[in-house]
Amino acid sequence: MPAETHMEGAPIGRNEVLDIVRERLADILEIEPAGIVEGASFADDLGADSLALIELVEALEEELSERSTGFRIDDDDLEDLRTVRDAVDYVVSRFG
């Protein structure tokens, strides 16, 4: 679970976060966003290796820091993010 549970920032809806994760992931993995479902495992279903996940994390930090200054995903939390749903839940929880 996130080291810090809430951040100051503009509210963001779960569906919006899901769309952002899908788009960034599709861009990184060169696949169609529509093929990325919430339950998909990064490694087993999408073939994302550790570097691809770090690309995703950096892309999310860049995009979401515009909504909440200094938004950052802690490296210690990365191993808990195994599915698209985990990533979406994580971001939503950080925004409170």
């Binding site: 990184i28 570097l51 996940l53 770090i54 950096e58």
Partner: protein, 327 residues
């Protein structure tokens, strides 16, 4: 001409051999260099511009997290210099995975390329060297990735080696289409109908063909490619050291060695990795040369030459346009 950013802290022989190689590149080839590293270590160097970086990613550090956490490391700063347009290319003999991660995360991936790959030149006596890729970036690959490696490798062979119509092959355990792993068999199908930017797919090759003129671009997953590369390097090292031992075991043999010294020196140079300067990371939006961890001054000098040449011929732009056309 923009300088080549050289990671002064990376490698077993850093910083002295790195600095010596950089100085040779400047003096003998007129290539501007930007040394990236700890100011206190580079103190006293007045003739080469320095880009300060306070951290060093160690050779055994975990690539992804170290690049994320050590934002003021020499590797990350070198990649940022290329991204920001203050350097034309980067060279590092440091942690290979972290070099790749720095380039990928700071320069970014070329559109339509799923994963970057490491392209290494293998000597081919009497012919042009063979491009082997992927030689270690991606242990597990899909057939789509292998196809992209082949297409990038073809563009690289054209620019780096001047081969207009490169012959592309899959590294397998037999020449017949049905030979090899499921990945190779699946890839054979897609390679057969693919466009290689003017090059052509010639089928499977075996390991014994790598150092011959039978192929220009040999494609493998990163695990296989790295095993092949290290096997060749290890074999060469063992062969030359054993030969030297034998040739100095008797006075007559030593006399023969003295006579044959120029030929042996030529062979040694042909097969020594330092001659080629390093491997190029293909698929990122910048020129990144990955040198051996054990690189000495000669390897760094050659790596800087290759980096400058690849920036000059705009290899990245050529790969970009090739992929925009074929996808």
């Amino acid at each position: 001409m923009l300088p080549v950013a050289v990671d002064a802290m990376g490698g077993d022989n850093a910083p002295h051999e790195i600095i010596a190689g950089a100085q040779k590149a400047i003096d003998d080839h007129g290539i501007p260099v930007l040394l990236v590293g700890k100011p206190e270590v580079l103190e006293g160097i007045t003739e080469i511009p320095i880009l300060p970086a306070s951290e060093v990613i160690e050779m055994d550090a975990e690539p992804g997290s170290s690049v994320r956490q050590m934002k003021d490391s020499s590797l990350v700063r070198a990649a940022e210099a290329v991204r920001d347009g203050t350097a034309s290319a980067m060279v590092s003999a440091g942690n290979t995975g972290a070099t790749m991660a720095s380039a990928l995360l700071r320069m970014g991936r070329i559109k339509n390329i799923a994963r970057p790959a490491i392209a290494t030149l293998l000597p081919s006596p009497g012919g042009t060297p063979t491009v082997l890729l992927d030689s270690g970036a991606n242990s597990e690959c899909s057939s789509e990735w292998l196809l992209q490696f082949g297409q990038m490798g073809a563009v690289f062979a054209q620019h780096r080696l001047g081969i207009k119509e490169p012959r592309v092959a899959l590294l397998s355990i037999g020449e017949e289409p049905g030979k090899g792993s499921p990945l190779i068999k699946e890839s054979f199908e897609s390679f057969s109908t693919a466009d290689f930017n003017g090059g052509s797919f010639i089928g499977n090759i075996e390991g014994r063909d790598l150092l011959t003129d039978a192929v220009d671009v040999a494609v493998a997953d990163g695990f296989t490619g790295n095993v092949a590369l290290k096997t060749i390097e290890g074999t060469m090292k063992t062969f030359f050291s054993t030969m030297l031992e034998k040739m100095t075991s008797r006075p007559e043999a030593a006399s023969a060695l003295e006579i044959l010294e120029p030929e042996f020196a030529e062979l040694f140079e042909l097969f020594h990795p330092d001659t080629y300067g390093g491997a190029m990371l293909l698929g990122v939006k910048g020129v990144c040369i990955i040198s051996h961890g054990s690189s000495g001054a000669l390897a760094i000098e050659n790596a800087i030459k290759v980096a400058a040449e690849m920036a000059e011929v705009d290899i990245v732009g050529s790969i970009k346009s090739s992929f925009n056309q074929s996808n």
